[in-house]
Amino acid sequence: MLDLILQGCFFVVGLALLMNLYAAIRGPSVVDRLLALDTMYINSIALLLLYGVYLGTSLNFEVALLIAMLGFVSTVAVCKFLLRGDIIE
């Protein structure tokens, strides 16, 4: 039963991912797309958490943790790029 519900959750999060993809493709601005990408990172974390429960393994939590950390860095870097061109100055 839990598995079934979790599969439903996968479907929901998968749908969210597709919406992000749509947003990323649609834009219209770069920042919109960047926002979509960042959301995608976070949704991926959601997916990993669900997947962990589904498989009953915590092997993937570090991946989720890193996505949280690194997604932040890359989004910030792109923003910095948009603002200043030079991300390390």
């Binding site: 597709l18 910030v76 910095k80 100055e89």
Partner: protein, 932 residues
């Protein structure tokens, strides 16, 4: 018979003597140079009696057995004859050159090259191995190149030398092919083995090819038509060189080869035809052209060509007597031509010109030299009582006793007479035009007799002309006999070397030729006029034009093929890949289904869809660069998720962290690259590239599908079984990385370290190219380091470090490890750079990154080296468990030290790359304000 080796070796060592004695006086230096060849001659004389008594002497030193190449010498009659010519005339040339060369000319260089050349010639005639013969053969080409170009400041000398080298080099290669084929057919290169197998060879289907190749070698060397033109242009060499190379040696090497191979190759119809016709043509062409030369040496050069043709013709006739005549003429020609060249050199040297239109009436100025030259040219013309007459007489006789051309055989004596007539005419010109015929015109200086000893060589040779002419049997009879025996490899025919054979047809031909020749000379105007109307062909110019045409052709095609367009090269590469891959794929046919195929699920469908769309979007917006970067990040994210999905968390971690660094890097790059570019490719190219890309995609995709369906028989079970017991870790992937295949990892971090060093190199003295506004022309924002970001970043730093320590230590047993830990650390520091700027970080982090990199790799390496101390191979791991109070069981493993190296390298390298790139941009950043 080690003396045979010495005969060659001494002059070789002799080539160093003039270099070593360069500081001595010229006479002493020349004398010293002459000593070693003289010694060689002594050896020859010492060995001569044995040869005269019919022996053949051998000496062999192994060299390259794999090739069948040995230093194998043989001394028979033919070799002996040539040894006398080479060494005898060579010594005279040394004497002559002492006076000929001016103070400006480097004697060391001249004598050095001359000795080298002499060595090469001696090597040829003494060779008992065909490959060895070829080696020395090529050496003559090389050393003659150096001699001909002795006065390299003159363009004609340079070009003439190159032309000679090219022609003889070509012949040399043909000869090599011929020799190798002989070796293939007969199984040996040793002459004493080979020469006795004429039947085998001539029956073989390759015989015609071999014959043609060998003859090409011989003909190019001995300047036979149509390869004759290099010889006159080699006359830009100093005269001693011409006297040596073009009388007794270089060109005679070709003749020697004919004589040497005579027992092996001669006797067939093909031989008759090719050698006879070539010889006859050369004889005529040379004699005819000699008549029109205004240059003294030019005349002699064409005369040489003509006489070489004569000798070749004689070998072509194929009768034993003709061969004897040929050998006799080799001797005679060498003697009179060497003396003539030297005489011409004296004239040139003392009068400053070689132009026969200027040289007139020299008899008054240098009567002795004139007399000598006249005798020698009379010999060349075939005047009785001189040596030239004798061999020419034999030649005439032989032209009458052949049936080479069948019904047309009568042509040969007729043409021979014509050639003799021409020869008389040019000899007459040499005598009359130079020594008589009025007064000199416009000579640079007043001619006079040369220094005493400069004339000695000429005197010696002219004396020989007369002596041989008068008493042939006494002087050269034995030599001719042993030489002929060697050539014929059998009993000698009956011949007589007397000067009078009665009134016979050959004598009539001689008389006719002499008479007609004189007549022709005095009526030469008509002939000159006729010749003047023919188009002038300057071989040097011709050669240059042809070479330039060749280079032009090469350039055209080279540039057509190598267009310096990377896209084309890459296209080729992918096309080749596609072609090479489609074939095995097609063979596979339907994919066999060994493996259970797993049913796809929604998530995987979604992932496929997202990845595909994002990849295509990356392609579509590749000209809006930031966008494409966003799109490719999506692809990267999906790939990460796929790794998670299929149970590879280590991969996901690594992929993710690498991707972030890559994105940061690409963004740094974007700052310098144009943000938006216009469409560069036309529709045709897009379609073409699309097609290639699609094929590659389909091929690779299919291969991967086929691969996934293959049954698995892998070595991995070993890793699973030994990871814990042998490597001390539960995470098999990590144990493979730091232990089973730790060597790969060492290489991998080395690559990373080198990349960092290389990038640092690339960034030094980078002439910057920057934009003060973005793609839309908008000024950059003023807020360099947003405050909120700065605060949060520094708060994240300890957290990130803690996480990286955690990831580092758990790596051995759970997903993680030094690499990911290093990247997390590096990214956390990079975040500081982004949030606070280069200067801020530099104040707080005073690390030399290259040292960090080096230290990292060094730690890993030394971990590996440490196992030597325990007598184990490099990188043998060690781990153990310790019970400590409170702590419980603790595992210590060498893998941790290894992984620490990995960690440090990754941190060092990543920071070295990113921070330096960032630093670079900051240091030179122009002030934003005040720019339009």
């Amino acid at each position: 018979m080690i003396e045979l080796l010495f005969i060659v070796l001494f002059p070789l060592i002799g080539s160093l003597v003039p270099v070593l004695t360069a500081r001595w006086s010229r006479s002493y230096s020349a004398l010293a140079t002459a000593l070693l060849p003289l010694a060689a001659l002594v050896f020859v004389l010492q060995l001569a009696p044995a040869v005269f008594s019919g022996e053949t002497l051998f000496y062999k030193l192994p060299w390259v057995e794999a090739l069948g190449l040995s230093l194998s010498f043989r001394l028979d009659g033919l070799s002996l004859l040539f040894l006398f010519l080479i060494l005898g005339i060579g010594l005279l040339i040394i004497l002559y050159a002492r006076y000929y060369l001016s103070e400006k000319d480097s004697m060391a260089r001249f004598y050095g090259f001359l000795m080298l050349f002499m060595t090469a010639m001696l090597g040829i005639v003494l060779s008992n191995n065909l490959l060895q013969l070829w080696v020395f053969w090529e050496l003559t080409s090389i050393s003659s190149f150096l001699l001909i170009s002795f006065w390299w400041h003159r363009a004609d000398a340079r070009l003439g030398a190159r032309m000679a080298l090219m022609i003889t080099g070509f012949g040399g290669l043909a000869l090599l092919a011929g020799i190798l084929l002989i070796g293939n057919v007969l199984g040996s290169f040793e002459l004493d083995v080979v020469l006795s197998q004429a039947d085998v060879l001539q029956q073989h289907s390759l015989y015609p090819v071999i014959l043609i190749l060998v003859l090409l070698g011989a003909f190019t060397k001995s300047a036979q038509f149509p390869f004759h033109f290099w010889l006159p242009n080699a006359m830009s060499a100093p005269t001693p060189v011409s006297a040596y190379l073009h009388s007794a040696t270089m060109v005679k090497a070709g003749i020697f080869l004919l004589a040497r191979m005579y027992p092996l190759l001669a006797g067939s119809d093909l031989w008759f035809l090719m050698v006879t016709i070539t010889g006859m043509t050369t004889l005529l062409v040379g004699a005819y052209l000699a008549l029109f030369q205004h240059d003294l040496k030019g005349l002699l050069a064409y005369s040489t060509i003509s006489h070489l043709g004569l000798i070749t013709l004689l070998f072509g006739l194929g009768t034993d007597l003709a061969a004897v005549a040929a050998i006799f003429h080799i001797i005679n020609h060498a003697i009179f031509k060497a003396s003539l060249f030297m005489a011409a050199g004296i004239i040139d040297h003392e009068s400053g010109s070689r132009d026969m239109r200027k040289l007139n009436g020299l008899w008054q100025f240098m009567p002795v030299t004139a007399t000598l030259a006249m005798v020698a040219s009379a010999s060349m013309a075939g005047v009785p009582l001189l040596n030239g007459f004798l061999s020419k007489e034999m030649f005439f006789a032989e032209t009458l006793h052949q049936e080479v051309l069948g019904a047309l055989s009568w042509l040969i004596p007729v043409l021979a007479t014509v050639a003799a007539t021409l020869s008389v005419a040019y000899s007459a010109r040499f005598i009359h035009d130079v020594f008589f015929n009025g007064q000199p015109k416009g000579l640079p200086r007043t001619p006079h007799e040369p220094p005493r000893y400069m004339r000695v060589p000429v005197e010696v040779l002219v004396a020989l002309c007369i002596l041989v002419g008068l008493a042939p049997a006494y002087i050269v009879g034995d030599l001719l006999a042993v030489a002929s025996t060697a050539v014929l490899a059998g009993p000698l025919p009956l011949y007589s070397l007397s000067i009078w054979h009665g009134v016979n047809l050959p004598l009539m031909m001689s008389v006719l030729a002499l008479t007609l020749g004189i007549v022709l000379y005095f009526n030469r105007k008509h002939l000159f006029r006729f010749q003047a109307e023919l188009p002038e062909l300057n071989p040097l110019q011709f050669f240059e034009v042809k070479i330039n045409a060749l280079l032009g052709f090469a350039k055209k095609w080279h540039h057509r093929i190598e267009s310096a367009a990377l896209q084309r090269y890459l296209m080729w590469m992918f096309v080749i890949v596609a072609i090479l891959l489609i074939w095995p794929l097609q063979q596979m046919g339907e994919f066999t289904r060994h493996n259970a195929v797993q049913a796809p699920d929604t998530l995987m469908f979604a992932a496929t869809f997202v990845a595909a769309i994002a990849a295509i979007a990356t392609v579509l917006c590749q000209r809006q660069r930031l966008l494409s970067l966003v799109m490719i990040s999506i692809v990267g994210l999906v790939v990460t998720l796929i790794f998670v999905r299929f149970s590879a968390p280590d991969l996901a971690l690594t992929q993710l962290s690498v991707e972030v660094v890559t994105i940061v890097l690409l963004m740094l790059a974007l700052f310098f690259l144009p943000h938006k570019i216009s469409r560069a490719s036309n529709a045709g190219r897009l379609i073409r590239d699309g097609a290639i890309a699609s094929i590659c995609g389909v091929v690779i995709g299919s291969l991967s599908y086929a691969l996934m369906l293959e049954p698995q028989q892998r070595i991995s079970d070993f890793f699973l079984a030994n990871s814990k017991i042998g490597g001390g870790g539960y995470n098999v992937v990590n144990v493979i990385l730091v232990d089973f295949r730790g060597f790969d990892t060492l290489g991998e971090i080395t690559v990373l370290g080198i990349a960092a060093l290389g990038i640092f190199k690339l960034l030094t003295r980078l002439p910057l190219f920057r934009s003060s506004s973005d793609a839309q022309g908008r000024q950059w924002a003023l807020d360099k380091h947003p405050m909120l970001l700065a605060v949060v970043s520094q708060a994240l730093l300890p957290l990130a470090l803690l996480v990286s320590v955690y990831i580092f230590f758990r790596g051995h047993n759970l997903p993680g490890g030094g690499f990911v830990a290093g990247l997390v650390t590096a990214i956390a520091i990079i975040l500081q750079y982004v949030a606070q700027g280069v200067d801020w970080v530099r104040e707080r982090l005073t690390l030399e990154y290259h040292r960090l990199v080096a230290a990292g790799v060094l730690i890993s390496t030394l971990t590996g080296v440490a196992s030597w101390a325990f007598g184990r191979p490099f990188l043998t791991s060690w781990f153990d468990y310790f019970q400590l109070p409170l702590f419980g069981e603790i595992e210590l493993a060498s893998a941790i030290a290894f992984d620490l190296g990995v960690y440090l390298t990754v941190v060092g390298a990543t920071l070295m790359i990113l921070a330096n790139l960032g630093k670079m941009t900051t240091e030179h950043r122009p002030v934003n304000k005040g720019q339009s």
